[in-house]
Subunit: 341 residues, 4 copies
């Protein structure tokens, strides 16, 4: 039975597996001090148009979020996020564990609305009691968002403006970044992200790698001892070259974009087919995660033949359902799913 419930069901792209096999018995220094990591970092710097960026490889997304935020926030600062943000909901309190409050504002289309962020900060500084409150020191955005939606370059520029006006940093969680970059009509490129964000990560786990997220600080001086902080947060991989391999392959010959393009293409085919068949889209996601409001009975029936992701009841016998394609989804699987809808 084919699974469409998330984008981390399979292993890694064959190029990565091949490289793992080929280099398996090579001896390299640990903790990322090896040539493969150096090469991968150089490719990422080039792709971001940031020759001086600091690049670090971490293992997973929550780990990247909480290690980076803990590094770039001062001890008394919190992070502003959408109430649907991954850091707000699904990280088991990792951000709070590191001492920082996640301050939420209502999401707008799954995103932090720049105006809402500006208004929050304006009100914060207008509040006479704000020295008794948690000052937001950063804005957290996920791109694509948890609902598959994307920021525009203009929205990122405006969030940058909010950050500049209120002494905050802008952090972008790119767990599914490849699928965002591959979306039709987006104007957000890696270079745009590197221009507007103080820190971000390029997701590997959900985008073709076995595991791994590449954290980028366009200005390396923002976090001068990040290596030690990685270790301190239990996030340092001994055999660091394994992470280098993931990104050295993903950033060779446009692989990262190519495999995401495949997934997004399938998602668009599925989306159009579902709309045509009368299914009600929940939102307008241009990426590999598609959200539909489905009749519970229908959902039960389909679930006998394919695994979808039920996000819970929407009332009136309907549920919100997420259907996800990935770099590994075969064309036939989508065709089959359409055939049983």
């Amino acid at each position: 039975m084919y699974r469409f419930n998330c984008d981390y069901l399979e292993g890694a792209h064959e190029n990565i597996i091949k490289r793992l096999v080929e280099t398996n018995l090579c001896q390299t220094p640990g903790y990322g001090a090896d040539e493969i990591c150096f090469s991968a970092k150089e490719k990422i710097r080039a792709a971001c148009g940031c020759p001086d960026a600091a690049v670090y490889f971490l293992v997973g997304g929550t780990q990247a979020n909480y290690t980076v935020l803990d590094s770039i926030l001062r001890g008394y600062e919190g992070v502003l996020a959408a109430d649907t943000g991954h850091v707000s909901v699904h990280e088991a309190g990792a951000i709070e564990y590191s001492g920082h409050k996640v301050i939420t504002i209502p999401q707008k289309n799954g995103k932090v609305d720049p105006e809402a962020a500006e208004e929050y900060m304006r009100a914060f500084y207008a509040d006479a009691t704000n020295t008794h409150m948690v000052r937001p020191g950063a804005i957290y955005v996920s791109h694509p968002s948890e609902y598959g939606t994307l920021y525009t370059a203009e929205e990122l520029r405006r969030l940058r403006g909010v950050c500049d006006r209120y002494g905050m940093r802008l952090f972008l969680d790119g767990a599914r970044l490849a699928y965002g970059l591959a979306a039709r009509d987006t104007d957000v490129t890696l270079k745009v992200i590197a221009e507007y964000c103080d820190a971000f990560y390029i997701g590997g786990t959900k985008c073709g790698a076995l595991f791994g997220e590449a954290v980028v600080f366009p200005d390396a001086s923002l976090s001068p001892c990040f290596f030690t902080e990685i270790k301190q947060h239990g996030a340092l991989l001994a055999k660091g070259r394994m992470l280098g391999i993931q990104f050295d392959e993903l950033f060779s010959d446009g692989l990262y974009e190519r495999i995401a393009d495949h997934a997004v293409g399938l998602a668009m085919i599925l989306r159009e087919a579902m709309i045509e068949k009368g299914y009600e889209p929940y939102n307008d996601s241009p990426t590999n995660q598609q959200f539909f409001i489905m009749d519970d009975e229908k959902l039960r029936e389909i679930s006998k033949k394919a695994v979808l992701d039920n996000w819970g009841p929407m009332g009136e016998g309907k549920s919100l359902v997420r259907i996800t394609t990935s770099w590994a989804t075969p064309h036939e699987a989508v065709e089959y799913l359409i055939s049983i809808l």
Copy 2:
């Protein structure tokens, strides 16, 4: 140039690589809720003689140490360790980051001496000011220790006694456990460890795996929500089955013991050859890490042909050197090293 400076230079045992390749495009649920993880855990329970143990897979050693200790310590407790313990020295303060003091006592042959631990606790409870001090809530031991040495079953039993008398838990860091189990003349087996310890981990990263440590709680009720704590500590791997693969292979057909036996065998050959050639052993390590006090000039000469691990000056133009074999070390490499000594 062959490297003997540590035991995490290569990838993984070929069985693991083979399994990774074979299962690469399988779809399995994330976060360890897959059949491979279930199988691996069952094999570990059997090997430990603990059918009811809780087993969790984490990615690395520092991560395992700080997540487990934070789980089994109460908020106001610290952990008692040898001053040479990994948690004391080389974890960038991860234990303190999680709020717990590492309380050190002088190492004895790289280990926590049961009598010294008893004496520390006796004095602690005799101190009228101890409510202003950090109460040790656990004893941390590494087996093999950072100096390659091993506890005896009797020593573990006595540490267990200290823990019982003072309401403490016993935690064993098994980053190199395979090499300890494979040592000649040791009476410490996995079952002995499971009998005396409240929590321990079976090292994968340094013992044949790409990465991964298997945390075992012989009594699962000690840490009933450990899964959430893993997530909270940024330590949950999305594609959890990758960790299952490591341990399902390592615990098939005695692979874990077999590859360690190989490494220890080579270490013993090297050790004897070095002593025969007049090198001064620093201690009596029965495992894959060998420590010698070497003349700096000689060391420089050898270092042109092989990479050893210099642990720093010992005075009189000599240094402490660590030479490490592993599951991946070829017989020829050791022969070559002996030939150039």
Copy 3:
């Protein structure tokens, strides 16, 4: 110019000052191990009807909240609170600093609605992803609430039920408890609180003391090492008897109730006079904090003659205003305020 903006403007009740003066040069052991503290604790136990309760004296309210919650929550648990709760808004992130998420639900009349709490917990346990979320381990209530409102005994009983059903603890912040106990028509007594709550504190700072909050654990075994946790949180007062004096006096001859009765009586006089004069009450507070929606122009005028507490704009040229009486408010001050309204 008389201030009505809060209830911690003056020093302490004269009995406390007198005792401070009388005992000033006595020598007593530090950290609360003195006869005055013992006496005060005994009186509190009696007042709560809990002969076996553990009582501790802390200096301030935020300190009490974060030290107690950190003690009674497990490391991975958060606390459920109203979005207007003091721990949610005005403690500069102290709860998050100690590693715990404050999980908010919308306030209802300034309080945690038992049904809303039940519904939150029901939904939490129905959510298949809840092992990736922060589990609420306690419910935080403030009584009186930040809006002067009070729980009924029945509401506390129902919150206790929610806690019992979901394995949670109930914690009551009694920063202004005296004013709650002195309210007309309340059925919540110290004994009721001690029956339903796992931990609570009896406020001193805002209720006649120079400073000090008395933390009560009706079942002492809930937090067996709380003294050390007080020290660990920087909350232990060296000259502990100073805190003993506050509570030994407040709990002698019904002083705690008597002075609060005075403040509540004045608040009721003020409330009725304002309503009679056509001012719009914001809510129905039976305690010493009164909330009115006032015309901004009128507010500016009054503010030339008395200090009120402006809680911010309500639209249409109006603001929410808090007017507070206290144990120290003279009758004449209230008469004067009424005369200038």
Copy 4:
């Protein structure tokens, strides 16, 4: 029975009590935003010769230590201290609770030896594995030390040099600072301390106040949001003027020096008398804490008539004993103690 076991047995100097009584019913804004606090801060700035210093009032010493250190250390830094330092031993792990390791070096006469600190840092930066270790970000000194001893101005200057060379901050715990300033022959004044330290506190609790420590940042920009950090650490006193009163009185008409001079004078009388009577001094303390090695039998006998502080067995039937005078010790008490020795 007179107590000499510590210097926080009594209340406060009569001037402070008098001011408390006089101002008791005054209404002032909370949290230190009152004229008395402003005045006290101004006096402290003048006494330190730092017109631009930031001054904050905290309640106790451990609270001051852990709040200041947490503020001036980066998240991954630890603090270097003598193994006898208060932060190392008697703060129940408050520093570790805030995430920072206390890195100890052997005390020398109760102090951090500048050469030992320099050597520690030199070795740290020479260690190839130091990115896996906790970097000391500050040096903690207590003046007087826990053993009553004092730094010289030259020693502080040299510690400043170590800090400058290695990018560290210098923090001085002045819990008993008055007694240090009043010592005969010391060349360390408040101005010297303010010149060499990045942060320090002027102890009130043990030096004539009911409670309170005045934290001074000679360069206010070192900790720009310290007020919020105080709140976050549960350390903000609502009725802040109580702290202002302590220091406004202590820093009027030389009271702080005068009362300490009294205590030190008595300590010197006692010291000389004891030496004359053949008691063995443990060290050469020029301040109000005197340490002697006493015969256990003799100690038991004296303890029937006066309370001394037994610091534990020294072998051969002897114990280390601390005898403390304070601002409140009457001349007669010392005479009596001498008479029974």
